[in-house]
Amino acid sequence: MSEFTLTLIKFGFLALLWIFVLSIVSVIRSDLFGARVDPGQLAKESPRAPKQPKQSKRRRGVPTQLVITEGSNAGQTLPLSGETITLGRGTDTTIRLDDDYVSSRHARFVTNGEEWFVEDMGSTNGTYIGSSRVTRTTVINAGTAVRMGKTVVELRK
């Protein structure tokens, strides 16, 4: 094996190492910018969307969205789909509240398909409707303000 061939092989191997490094970089890069909104997922959701107004038409007064009216998250809204909504400071909640007076899992909104209920999940500072503390599952109507910490949440039609 001549010296020259070995030198070529040496450079070839270093090149191979760096090609590997660069292809990893390109995979990481496409991973950073390539996360996409799945059209299939959206398509699956879209037939559900027209169903939602139909349900609300059937019974007047059923709220269709949850609105945060006060606190640092004020202005956020979430359409109601019949799924349970949890609120709190933790990451595993549906809506993450940026409020120091809110527990990591503070309260949740649940529905039986007809009405919405609010339930305190053992929060430190409590959940209030008006001035009364929520101690058990309580029915709430559209427009009722529910307060937790400095945040006020209400359901709207």
Binding site: S30, Q55, L66, E114
Partner: protein, 474 residues
């Protein structure tokens, strides 16, 4: 205090902004396959080059090594495809590439050792065997642990197992003293370093413990010099970790592990509480301990002197001096695989494999290898960022940091950036326990990453039924 790492915008799912569909991470399984092919080309190519350079022909047993490595990579990839389909695509190829480079280098060192009638070695065959055990454990972890959060239920069990493994080498009968460190156990003709496995168990324990207790550690405390320091009564855990790492230093004479365990714990404390005070406190405690160690123990003093002025006493510090010459001889592009003389450095196959690689692949090659480690760490931290549960976040950070610290301590040590401490170079060094433990770490990272990148499950919304009126509360 909520979870330390804020969810980056666009990655949060369902945080009530009204519109927006689900963000789906691509699975990138084909990308992983391509990277794996490259990784295998590096591993097998390295061995072929070693044969060409040393004997003028491609070694005959390349079928065994190349075939073995390929079989292991394919097995790991298939298991990953079925059991963690959404996991990160770059972790497995990097592990395979590093393992392959390590195998080739160890084979190459075996050849030199054989030629010089050294009493050591061969290390190659057992290294291949341990790679197989490592990949088997990798597959087992992915198959058995379907959800990393299950680990949290056994927090204290993991802690006990980790401590037990750490103490094991001190027991008479099975513990053996090698090179002044009592970190090995010898059973049935196999020697094993239980500290490597203990590392993984302890990271799980630290993560589980801190998820539960971080609030107390984070919220109470007083401010001094612009840094929030914790309350005295909350110092218990860090004191215990400090005492334990000093214990390792005193009884096992293992500077590296001592630094590693304490470092992981301090970093996890910082990450879980978001208080830099812990870093200052931990750094101060470590410096204090190290300073005392310097005056109390001869082996610590030796290491520091070998770091500051190895050329002052070339006979005593021959190993580190030879390693420096090796790196200089390797220079920018290296001697070429099989063409240097890495065996002039003792323990070139374990602690000093980084300088052996630096000699034969040069700065160019060594930088690529260090970058590969950096990618593992980056992917680990990225996994922590997008992970949705706090335990998974902490576990991913802990595993990534343990690898980062270990690479820093050992490569920093052999290149004389910091005092030399005996630790293995992950995936490269000859040594079964380290290889097996690192494959387990990769498997755990893939498990968490799979969980974090998986699209959120379709929530089943029951059709409203007017007649029944059942309040369904989950």
């Amino acid at each position: 205090m909520s979870v330390s790492t804020p969810t980056p915008p666009g990655r949060s799912r369902g945080t009530g902004s009204g519109s927006g569909g689900a963000i789906v991470h691509r699975t990138r399984r084909t990308a992983e396959l391509m990277l794996l092919i490259l990784a295998l080309a590096i591993g097998v190519g390295a061995y072929a080059i070693v044969g060409l350079a040393r004997e003028g022909s491609i070694p005959a047993d390349i079928v065994v090594y190349g075939g073995g490595l390929t079989a292991l990579a394919v097995a790991a990839h298939v298991v990953r495809r079925f059991f963690a389909p959404y996991a990160d695509p770059v972790l497995l190829p990097i592990a395979v590439a590093l393992n392959g480079i390590g195998l080739a280098m160890i084979q190459r060192i075996d050849m030199s050792l054989e030629a010089s009638d050294s009493p050591f070695g061969p290390f190659g065959p057992s290294q291949l065997l341990w790679s197989a055990v490592g990949v088997a454990l990798f597959c087992a972890v992915l198959v058995v642990i379907r959800d990393h959060r299950r680990l949290q239920t056994l927090t204290y069990t993991w802690g006990l197992v980790g401590l037990g493994l750490l103490i094991l080498p001190l027991l008479p009968g099975i513990g053996v003293n090698i090179n002044g460190s009592r970190i090995w156990i010898s059973m049935l003709g196999f020697s094993f370093q239980p500290g490597e496995i203990a590392k993984v168990c302890l990271v799980v324990f630290f993560a589980g413990y801190l998820v539960v207790n971080r609030d107390a550690l984070a919220l109470a405390g007083k401010r001094f010099l612009g840094i929030d320091f914790p309350r005295g009564r909350d110092l218990g855990p860090i004191l215990v970790a400090w005492a334990a790492s000093l214990g390792i230093l005193v009884f096992q004479r293992d500077l590296g592990s001592s630094l590693l365990f304490f470092g992981i714990f301090v970093v996890l404390l910082y990450v879980s509480t978001e208080r830099p005070g812990w870093l200052f406190l931990g750094g101060g405690m470590f410096l204090g301990g190290a300073y005392a160690g310097y005056y109390l123990f001869g082996h610590v003093r030796n290491r520091v002197e070998g770091w500051l002025d190895p050329f002052g006493d070339i006979d005593t510090y021959a190993q580190i001096v030879q390693a420096q010459y090796g790196l200089a001889w390797g220079s920018l592009l290296g001697r070429g695989l099989g063409e240097g003389s890495p065996t002039l450095v003792s323990y070139a196959w374990s602690d000093f494999i980084a300088t052996a690689l630096g000699e034969e692949l040069g700065l160019t090659g060594l930088m690529a290898i260090i970058l590969l480690y950096a990618f593992i760490v980056e992917r680990g931290l990225r996994t922590a960022l997008i992970c949705r549960d706090a335990f998974g976040k902490l576990l991913a950070v802990g595993l990534a940091v343990s690898l980062a610290l270990q690479v820093f301590v050992v490569i920093g040590g052999v290149t004389r950036l910091i005092p030399l401490t005996g630790l293995t170079t992950p995936f490269l060094s000859a040594g079964g326990s380290s290889l097996v433990a690192n494959w387990a770490i990769i498997a755990l990272l893939l498990r968490i990453s799979d969980h974090a990148r998986r699209p959120p499950p379709e929530v089943w919304a029951p059709e409203p039924d007017d007649a029944t009126q059942v309040v369904k509360l989950r």
